[in-house]
Symmetry: C2
Subunit: 152 residues, 2 copies
DNA sequence: CCTTGAGTTGAAGTGCGCTTCAACTCCGAG
DNA sequence: CTCGGAGTTGAAGCGCACTTCAACTCAAGG
């Protein structure tokens, strides 16, 4: 009881993430696991934190690849300290702030567009997400929606 | 010569949405087009507004299916008036407000968690998927509680 | 030892939001 | 009338984030 490591089922239960997803994360290099003699995964408890970070980041709209890159900034040799995590979280916080700001702008623009009836026009600030984001965000690439790269 | 209707290429140029996407939207019932004798699509200019609404909504993280439902609330008989659009936009505005609120909460929680080191714990408000901050990105995924016979 | 439930793998499937392709038609300028 | 770019279709493919499946092994209780 309360052992040093977790089975995949235990990690799944505690994190709320399906085992299949955890295996998938591992394949992508987002989390790690040791193996028992019988080849079963055993997770260090710190992996719980990584999984939490992954899910939280996803809620902010970050892709797994980007999350992988972020996690790669954690020290590989030692167990990450609270400071290590704080550094990551700060970066995400900026992302959140920027995202909140953009949504606020979108909302205000939407209000404006209700009044002016310009909803269909490109010149409307609502309708040029790329420019609007690039023009103002020092935080760089934010919430470009899914549409393909050459939707031009 | 500023004609009454637009070809798919014209609509694509003016809306910034690829023709293939426009056909896809039509298949899903998000936009409509008349046909020429030769079976080519001709779009009423009001479709521009629908397309704009679609793209804006996607930025807020709404799925095409939900957008379809929203658009279905527009009057089918007549051309939607500014008031019709305003009603839709108001609903979206609420959505934006809610989303902004959730992101703010996420940010504050993240701050709190940096301090308390609870990033890995379920009791952390960050980690409660119930809020379904659906994020944008590839298809709004709900963080479904794991399917399966947990209860069984 | 036997059984049972949890875990293992690679491969294939799913859903969304499209894009690409092949094969064909339309339409307007010359 | 010819030509070529724009348009048409259904079917297939893609990228992401997973899930499901089949076939198998492991681990622990009786």
């Amino acid at each position: 009881m309360h052992e040093a490591t977790l089975t995949i089922g235990q990690l799944a239960d505690r994190s709320g993430v399906a085992p299949s997803a955890l295996r998938y994360y591992e394949r992508l290099g987002l989390i790690r696991a040791e193996r028992t003699g019988g080849n079963q995964r055993r997770y260090a408890r710190t992996e719980l934190r990584r999984v939490a970070f992954i899910r939280i980041s996803q809620q902010v709209g970050v892709s797994l690849e980007e999350i992988r890159e972020a996690l790669a900034s954690l020290p590989s040799g030692r167990t990450p300290t609270p400071d290590d995590w704080a550094a990551l979280s700060r970066a995400w916080r900026n992302r959140l702030d920027e995202k909140i700001r953009l949504l606020g702008k979108l909302r205000d623009d939407l209000d404006g567009c209700i009044g002016c009836g310009c909803l269909s026009l490109q010149r409307c600030t609502l309708y040029n997400p790329g420019d609007a984001l690039a023009a103002e965000g020092s935080g760089a690439r934010l919430m470009l929606p899914r549409p393909g790269p050459d939707a031009a």
